[in-house]
Amino acid sequence: MAIEVRIPTILRTYTDGEKAVQGSGDTLAELFSDLDSRHSGIEARIVDEGKLRRFVNVYLNDEDVRFLDGISTKLADGDSVTILPAVAGGSV
């Protein structure tokens, strides 16, 4: 099962500068563990005590996973996951 994960600039030190990497897992939690097996340290930057870190936003096919099942959100082959820092945006 292949899932594309888009990595923000700040975490590319863990992925040798790669903007996107492939991973696998039935849930987001499993996906992040899988990523950590090849990109050691990345999981701890995203997850803390089994939850997403406060200023980290994770999107499954562009939908914020906090409105799905958070770190337990189920994944399917071909899904796209995007990790981003929380920002102030919009026409403010």
């Binding site: 600039t9 999107y59 939908e63 906090r66 920002v87």
Partner: protein, 316 residues
Amino acid sequence: MRYDSPLAAVGNTPLVRLPRLSPSDDVRIWAKLEDRNPTGSVKDRPALHMIEQAEKDGRLTPGCTILEPTSGNTGISLAMAARLKGYRIVCVMPENTSSERRELLAMWGAEIISSPAAGGSNTAVRVAKELSAEHPDWVMLYQYGNPDNAGAHYTTTGPEILADLPSITHFVAGLGTTGTLMGVGRYLRENKPDVAIVAAEPRYDDLVYGLRNLDEGFIPELYDETVLTTRFSVGSADAVTRTRELLQQEGIFAGVSTGAALHAAIGVGRKAVKAGQSADIAFVVADGGWKYLSTGIYTAESTEAAIELLQGQLWA
């Protein structure tokens, strides 16, 4: 409609159906034209309300200096009101915002302090907070944390939409300060409990995010996750594509953040079609396209070329 002054003419904007971009006859998309406000954006509502409430409780008095972090629209609204009411205003704005916004702010007499492009609005907020600490006599209305921002939408935008569209099933708006979504969302929930409140969050390219520290992100104080049903991240490419479709198919000339909201509106609309449900989806046209003309995205030969033009810009 007749009003006693330009400031009194804020709000009561049209809600128009988009016959071509609506997914079907049963799944209809409606645009709330907030560009029809006095300074041309939805921000006239919170800006005026924040000023009036601050005047009422004595935080803002004649001769005061107003300070605000803004990527443009709120600053423009505040500056216009400040000019008419006789306040001095200082705006902190990211340096990678369009020249039109700078011109408009200068036109209303605002003083502009540029914050570094890296970090976008987050950095503007930080710089404004530092300035506020250095100048305790300045009044920072602070749109990200001022309940009167959401309050403006709770008392005006929400009731207007429900009155015009009692059958509303979804409300979609861009997520910035979160004021529109919090205010309209709370009002609609109280009066129409099943309504879905959908946020469209702009997703910029790497140039804008830069080396944002994941441990020191920014979440507006106004934000309350429980008001939202869901939240979509919309990239520049989709936002530009929808902005151009809105122009070419429906004749509405809107800013790029509106394209992002429309993208989310069409997304939830398609879901409704798939599920065999009917829907009335209202979304917010936050501003017109005038301030983004210099990007060239409206006249670019192709959507691909338009997307290219927006690289590295804060488009919302």
